[in-house]
Symmetry: C2
């Protein structure tokens, strides 16, 4: 049985699958921290499926970019389970997870995730999720340098970039809200398109979030040193 | 707060939203009946959101076509809650629910749901979900009379119709598995495209599943009378 986790944003989600069949999935966007919701959600999922944690054979986890604390909780949980049960962990990019529900559009896909401080994490993909613009953190106006003609724009930061992009008249379109919600079960579908990073054994200790920038705390620490 | 239910297939799903924001969703495809899973799932959803049943103000429900017993359980639950709390119920077609995740393809969408006895429930839609072929129950080979060129084919019965359609060389494509999974939260997105049927008060008693055909029990009963 495979378990997928995504805690890279304010929302969280988990999914359980047996080979190719989705057994269970849950999504929650509540005003409580992932540290309170994640383990109970995993436990409820496994119990609902009438299974035990020992039946998990593979872990799929979203590595970010996204919320610093959310990513740390998700990865620590995945590492803990993988270490205890000696499981492989498959790691994926949050922007590819975000882009996936739009692949049927057969258009370029711009994925944007809120990075706080008026910035966004952004990446531009072909419909097969091959990379046109690699993930980075940027001010929304920097997106105007990208070729976004005939692009579908999706992700949790659509509301943040839309006023600016609308003004620029880019002939792009926005994914309806349903398609912008990040879901852990996408992680089961991504390996057909993308080779995941695989972590196991000693390599498990190298499993790190994709931060793309330093945390506010680190930036402040650097500034204080100058 | 809005609650959505889908028990039209062997899988079931529920979702909770506050205005435009999805708060919680759960999907389960287990070998136990909806009569055992549905109420506990609704209760867990409401409790996870820190809410009480009295905060539900609208119900969204999938009317079928699909599993006879599943639909009866889903509709009875919706009717019970709506009667108790005097809520409006918005009813939707299972084939439009199935087609929705493919709307970004900008192609015609063929939705197929397993109807057992080697038959399928099927309907053909434009990308805006307007109807090209109305929902009906049919033998898979009857689909060859429909114009399926440039169509994306989706739903739980893809595996059932694919061998036949592949042979006929229809220049159509199949939605990846991720897009074929029916989700109750789609019901929150459908009203933007489709006017739902609305039930409330006395009209609530008229809330009926969309069966499209008689149940096996009814067919047998008819045959015994002849």
């Amino acid at each position: 049985m495979k378990l997928a986790l995504d805690t890279s944003q304010t929302s969280g989600s988990i999914a359980l699958a047996d080979a190719d069949k989705l057994l269970y999935s849950a999504y929650f966007d509540l005003r409580i921290t992932h540290s309170e919701t994640l383990m109970p959600a995993i436990d409820a999922a496994i119990k609902t499926c009438g299974a035990s944690p020992k039946e998990i054979s593979e872990l799929y986890v979203c590595l970010g970019p996204g919320s610093f604390t959310g990513l740390r909780i998700g990865l620590a949980t995945a590492k803990g389970m993988a270490y205890g049960l000696d499981l492989p962990v498959y790691g994926f990019d949050a922007l590819q997870l975000t882009a996936f529900p739009c692949i049927l559009s057969n258009k370029k896909i711009l994925a944007v995730i809120d990075a706080r401080m008026k910035q966004v994490y952004a990446a531009l993909y072909n419909p097969d999720l091959s990379v046109l613009q690699a993930p980075r953190v940027l001010d929304p106006q920097e997106l105007l340098d990208w070729d976004l003609s005939g692009t579908v724009i999706t992700g949790s930061a659509v509301a943040l970039v839309r006023p600016l992009l609308d003004k620029a008249n880019l002939a792009s379109s926005y994914a309806p809200k349903y398609f912008r919600i990040p879901k852990a079960e996408v992680l089961f579908a991504l390996p057909a398109l993308l080779p995941p990073q695989v972590y196991r054994g000693e390599k498990l200790f190298d499993l790190e979030p994709l931060y793309l920038r330093e945390s506010t705390a680190q930036i402040k620490h650097q500034q204080n040193k100058v």
